[in-house]
Amino acid sequence: MRAAVVVFPGSNCDHDTYYVLKELVGVETDLLWYRQTQLDRYDLIVLPGGFSYGDYLRAGAIARFAPVVQALPEYIEKQRGIVLGICNGFQILTEAGLLPGALTKNLTRSHLTRSLSASGEGQGEVEGQGEVRFICKTVKLRVENNATPLTQLLSYGQIIELPIAHGEGRYVAPKDIIERLKRNRQILLTYYGENPNGSMENIAAIMNETGTVFGMMPHPERNSEKLLGTGDGLKIFQALVTSCQLSV
């Protein structure tokens, strides 16, 4: 079992993700330079968060042309292993057409802040105004399908907490695609209680039809230890690694 975390110029969650896989999950992991195209030795390839190429044109729009991304379709086609895109990685995967839909600028009509009530549901939210271009906060997520390599260690309907940190995280797709995602149970995580970026159907994480390519806006690597929160993110990496190990 060997994992790779791709390093694009501008990636900034590469070391964080590497740390979780290597030190917390305990998997052999390489940092993989974006010019690499030899992917067959990896069972898991993670496209990490960050600002590849500064996201100057549009998040992920330049990185999709990177050699490593150009090599991904073949890797996916022959079902060699699992691909996970986190935040910027998710954006790159949609830009490359390896996952359906698009991640667009956050649409935050009202700036909803944390609730004081213990349950965190509904009441007590404070409404403000403001064009919020980038949002960094911990959000609640609901597990919509736990029968996938990404979510198998979570339970259906479970509420987990993960941080988000993005300016372009609003998931949009044509109606028929959304319907297909729902029908095939490709929607894995949805924002719960509050939709921070205006995503359609509260979508936070999806997979492709074959269950080999995964994309999520929240950062599991930022909540993989109790010291930093609830530690929920670790289960996502452990689940992926378990799947890879089973199929090796």
Binding site: Y56, G124, L227
Partner: protein, 752 residues
């Protein structure tokens, strides 16, 4: 316009034995600017203590360095980007972030945290005072705001400019800091009329490095090569350092070309590439190209190494090939570094930077002759002695004048009309609504504060931020801030408080303070009163730091923060780093459990002078500041650290802006847990005074005896008990939920 005085020009001619040419004059203008040379401030900065057991690098390098544990060191520094931000807030603030990050990088350290202290004018025009006219006793000589009802002697407040600056600065920090991948974990924001024309943008960066891997900004070894790496050089920011050494007057629009443009993507690649080459033993030294660009940085490196440098200016990678040597030297294009590497190893270095898609070129070499020589296509076009260029500037003669009884014992309107039982909730709500006190969530949620996965306590959650170091038991606590109003009213006391408050913030999380960096923001130093306040602030800071045995390891001075209409308050910003030996012993800010006992510890009574309360309620900025008792400060913070170490404290919070009730409310917000407060004294002073040296701590009943024994004779008073869902006091109770809504919505609402 080069900013040199007549006498400075004459000194240059005399020392050179000739008149300098245009390029040499440009070199002197930048190296001898206040911004680069500290020619006015140096003599006062010497008053600050700079040594200590843990100091690895004091002032003089790009950043100060303090040793933590297990060879781990932190490099940290704060720098201002006030002038550019006042003219072009987005890029001004963005490049402020970039500049300080490269300073940390110059030490060979990986940047792990950013903090920023921001000051703006009022966001909304203030309503006329509701209170009866204050009896303003003797007007201070020059009147700015001192004891004067705000607005009386200054033009009407315009919220519009302040809003534009505020939004631009926050967006600029968000843009740059998020992309570059360094978490923004703390800082503070104040809104005061004095900052309407000159906003303040002070950014602190903290880097982590093993002691053995520290680098210096030095050039040495004759024949060794000088490299410039990073972005190509363009025409942006020419004369930025001299721009920062003048008042902001007239058509500031014309100054836009003086503001650099930031490119955080290139910066991120530059960080990674630089840290990669820091492992090469052939690296002699490195420095970022900041203020002054190539006209200052290589010369400074040569000065430190006791050598000279010859540059072949045509080798510098350019954005525009038509740039003249003069423009290339003076450019302040961002995202560039200078390296000195062993002769013969150049290619190895160039390869790494090119791998990251960056420009890299050999542009010169170290020479024995101690001169800074600029060559263009083989011909020497400028040559000046290093010693004259760097540090040769004569100290500027100064003139100081105390403005007399500066400490203004002004009257404020008679006490609130017979405080009745409903008076405090309304006043507390109004204070929580004040943008200076209200939640800054709207701001820090736009900053990535969790990247790098080390943020244990982030912005808005406590008095200080707390970071872990992967694989280690200890934590690094960080704080940054300073209250300019206090310094306006009493610069000595204000300087002391700036240091003490930073100490409190670290102690609140249970961390031991280790070292200080500071940024001194002042108006024009040729004004004798400004210079007097400058010295007083420094003396106050020095006094407090000496008492706590805390060294200043780096710092920055920003003068000329004034316009034709306004001077800023004397505003020292203190950044402080602390060590928490065991992360498991960190102390939260908020109330934790029903039934915990609430204590006020420290000075138990005081007055209301200089408070936010007086400003909000009486539109009055004035009053006498209570004097800080440094002996009490030291004894109290020591006792609290010991209590934290023993695990006796359930929560701790420093009482500062807004006073006691604001502190209690903030403690309630963490978990929505209320407090039953049983105090008799419902006076304005007690509830809203901002006298120094106080904490509100809570203690679980089972630890109560040990906690009180530990405090011994240190002053403390039981305030009440944690519990319920409201803040109860004097027969009135206000739901925490209601206070929280006000606290959270005030800032977004004031931006509408």
């Amino acid at each position: 316009m080069n900013g040199l005085s007549q006498s400075e020009y004459e000194t240059i001619c005399a020392r050179l034995g000739r008149t300098p040419n245009e390029i040499e004059l440009g070199l002197f203008a930048l190296n001898w600017s206040e911004h680069c040379s500290y020619k006015t401030s140096k003599r006062f900065l010497k008053l600050l203590p700079t040594t200590g057991r843990r100091v690895v690098q004091g002032p003089g390098e790009n950043a100060g360095v303090i040793e933590l544990e297990n060879e781990w060191c932190v490099a940290f520094k704060v720098e201002s980007h006030n002038h550019p931000s006042a003219v072009e807030p987005f890029n001004g603030a963005a490049t402020g972030v970039g500049g300080i990050i490269r300073d940390i990088l110059s030490m060979g350290a990986r940047p792990i945290a950013l903090l920023d202290s921001l000051r703006f004018g009022e966001l909304t025009p203030q309503p006329p005072s509701q209170a009866p006219s204050p009896l303003c006793s003797p007007l201070p000589r020059r009147g700015e705001g001192l004891g004067v009802r705000v607005g009386e002697h200054s033009p009407p407040r315009t919220g519009e400019r302040s809003r534009a600056l505020f939004l631009g600065v926050v967006a600029g920090i968000s843009h740059y800091g998020n992309c570059v991948g360094v978490p923004t974990v703390g800082g503070d924001i104040y809104f005061e009329d004095a900052y309407t024309d000159n906003c303040l943008v002070n950014v602190m960066c903290v880097g982590l490095v093993k002691r053995s891997e520290l680098k210096r900004a030095i050039a040495a070894g004759v024949g060794n090569k000088i490299l410039v790496v990073g972005a190509a050089t363009g025409r942006d920011g020419i004369h930025g350092a001299t721009f920062a050494s003048e008042d902001l007057v007239g058509e500031t629009e014309e100054r836009r070309p003086n503001v650099q443009v930031g490119d955080p993507f290139t910066a991120k690649s530059l960080i990674e590439a630089t840290l990669e080459v820091c492992r090469f033993p052939e690296l002699i030294g490195l420095q970022d190209l900041g203020a002054g660009g190539l006209s200052t940085a290589p010369a400074e490196m040569a000065a430190r190494g006791g050598v000279g440098i010859a540059l072949d200016i045509e080798e510098v990678p350019l954005r525009d090939p038509t740039m003249t040597p003069y423009e290339i030297l003076l450019s302040e294009s961002q995202e560039r570094m200078v390296l000195c590497v062993k002769a013969g190893s150049e290619q190895k270095f160039l390869n790494i930077f090119r791998k990251w898609g960056l420009e890299a070129a050999v542009i010169g070499e170290v020479i024995a002759e101690r001169v800074y020589r600029i060559r263009h296509e083989g011909r020497t076009i400028a040559e000046v002695p290093i010693e004259l260029l760097v540090g040769g500037v004569p100290q500027t003669p100064v003139d100081q004048a105390s403005p007399g009884p500066y400490i203004f014992a002004g009257h404020w309107p008679a006490k609130a009309n017979s405080p009745d039982e409903v008076w405090w909730p309304e006043r507390l709500k109004a204070l929580l609504r004040s943008p200076t006190i209200a939640s800054k969530r709207w701001v820090w949620e736009q900053y990535d504060h969790t990247v790098q996965t080390n943020t244990v306590i982030g912005p808005g959650a406590h008095d200080a931020a707390l970071l872990r170091v992967k694989g280690e038991r200890f934590g690094i606590a960080l704080t940054m801030g300073g209250n300019g109003r206090y310094c306006q009213l009493d610069p000595y006391e204000g300087g002391m408080r700036a240091v003490c408050e930073a100490v409190h913030n670290l102690v609140s999380v249970g961390a031991e303070p280790l070292g200080i960096t500071d940024c001194l923001n002042f108006a024009n130093p040729t004004d004798p009163e400004v210079l007097w306040s400058f010295e007083q602030v420094i003396r106050g800071m020095a006094q407090a730091a000496q008492t706590f045995e805390l060294p200043f390891v780096s710092g920055n001075v920003s003068f000329y923060n004034q316009s034709e209409r306004r001077k800023i308050y004397p505003t020292p910003i203190v950044g402080m780093v602390g060590l928490l030996r065991d992360l498991e012993r960190r102390v939260p800010m908020g109330f934790q459990r029903e039934g915990d006992l609430i204590y006020l510890v420290g000075k138990l009574s005081g007055a209301v002078g200089g408070s936010e309360f007086l400003k909000v309620f009486y539109n009055f900025i004035g009053g006498e500041l209570e004097k800080t008792d440094l002996a009490l400060e030291v004894a109290l913070t020591k006792a609290l650290l010991e209590a934290a170490r023993r695990g006796l404290i359930a929560s701790a919070h420093d009482v500062s802006d807004g006073g006691l009730l604001v502190a209690l409310a903030e403690k309630s917000f963490a978990k929505g847990l209320g407090a039953r407060v049983e105090i008799e004294d419902l006076s304005e002073e007690y509830l809203f005074g901002e006298w120094p040296t106080r904490f509100v701590v809570t203690v679980h009943p089972e630890h109560d005896r040990e906690f009180r024994e530990l405090l011994g004779s240190l002053p403390h008073r039981r305030l009440g008990t944690v519990g319920g869902s409201g803040l109860e006091l004097g027969g009135r109770s206000v739901p925490i939920e209601e206070l929280y809504r006000i606290y959270e919505s005030a800032l977004p609402e004031s931006l509408r």
